[in-house]
Assembly symmetry: none
Homo-oligomer: 233 residues x 2
DNA sequence: ATTATATACTGGTATAGACCATGTTGCAAG
DNA sequence: CTTGCAACATGGTCTATACCAGTATATAAT
């Protein structure tokens, strides 16, 4: 396992809570107890708890203990969740067509956004996304090769987020999104079944793992007429 | 005196930065050096640095050092704060021209979004917003009349958020935003000094007070070429 | 039974060391 | 002068321990 011990413990505790070992309001064992259970020092255990507190999953009270907080599930999905869940949440059947799928040397922009080493290779995918068989977006996704090593094309294409959690034990953290507007080029218009010059909502998203490493850079062009981005803040 | 040592150190470093001892981009002494200077262990010193990093005042890079960050005031503002602060945060001089300013009966859409009673009146403003004298957006803002009762036109136009806090003691809470893309109509293109058909980023925003009452409904059309919406999640 | 008090337990702070992976730098080899 | 590499510096992680200030609980005094 590559990740630090406290991240591993963080993940184990999080899973235990999700699995129902403790419910909202329950007190979890004390730091000293957990430190023994996980065979680490209390300071390390505290670091794991700290990250869970920062995520709002746990609450601490001196003298009383550490408790499971009442999760506010809300908007945090908006950025970090993928297209698939987004469509399903709106009752639409998601599908996609892969236009290209190549390993290549990254562009300067990709090197910068993904903080790549000069000699790093990336996987670049172009896809058209559909909701109920209507084209919704054209996207170009770039992923450092080291992230997807050992994963099949299907695993990467279908649901990268879920695959990363399951197979690699790494969890997406935050994401940075830049939204702007433009108009469709001839090529994109063809893919999206619209006319050249029609309105396009552009979304550039850099997704980061919990340790801060960027793992995906996606540039998406949404059909303006068919897509709306909802945010709560 | 009562506060923990790491908070005291936090304050001292923060003051030193504000006093100009280090500027944005400067590297501050290493953790080991500072630990000696402040007569504390490195772990304690790290805790002080940690709080400053969380506040966005410092940035850390392994192998390189710890640096004074260029304050990104940005994102949490993005929704609930107004245009004025948004521009100022990006170092641009905000200004605006009011196109219209009328009290009227609300449209059906406005009644729904602002949860108005049937006989309620609203204030509707149309404005063009500029950053450094370049047109950035055209917006239509609708506010229930009861919210702005007793406020001058200037107070409403200039910075509604600040005025509400100061004069009425109510604080904006969350906001819901819907983002989409379209192209400019003839009228809007003229206001924004672009061509008909140019890309427009549309933002519809409903802002709520902390008690959950909606107090503002704004529809903004941003010039696609001149505006980018940055989000972090 | 109620109230006071002592005790045990909790998370919060702090220490002094250690090792690691990565970034920087200066020196040696070409 | 450039290149490659070794030495060094830096933040990141981790240990084992200690004491503190709050909270909860069992115990003793009323």
């Amino acid at each position: 396992m590559g990740s630090p011990v406290y991240i591993q413990i963080h993940n184990e505790i999080k899973k235990a809570i999700e699995a129902g070992k403790w419910s909202v309001g329950d007190r979890i064992p004390s730091e000293r107890e957990l430190a023994v259970q996980f065979h680490v020092s209390r300071m390390t255990l505290r670091q794991a708890i700290q990250t869970l507190v920062e995520e709002g999953i746990l609450e601490r009270f001196v003298g009383s203990g550490t408790f499971v907080a009442n999760q506010k599930v809300q908007e945090k999905m908006s950025g970090v969740t993928g297209f698939t869940d987004l469509m399903l949440a709106q009752g639409k059947q998601p599908s996609s067509k892969t236009i290209s799928y190549h390993v290549m040397s990254p562009s300067l922009s990709e090197i910068e956004k993904l903080k790549l080493k000069d000699d790093a290779q990336v996987l670049r995918m172009e896809r058209v996304r559909y909701g109920d068989d209507v084209p919704i977006s054209f996207e170009v996704a770039t992923i450092p090769l080291e992230i997807v090593e050992g994963l099949s094309k299907q695993e990467v294409s279908e649901s990268l987020y879920r695959t990363l959690e399951t197979k690699k034990g790494v969890m997406p953290g935050h994401a940075k999104q830049m939204v702007s507007a433009s108009t469709a080029s001839e090529r994109i218009a063809e893919y999206l079944d619209i006319k050249r010059g029609d309105a396009i909502l552009r979304l550039r998203q850099i997704s980061y793992l919990q340790d801060g490493r960027p793992f995906e850079y996606v540039r998406t062009q949404y059909v303006g007429e068919r897509f709306e981005f909802v945010l709560e803040k």
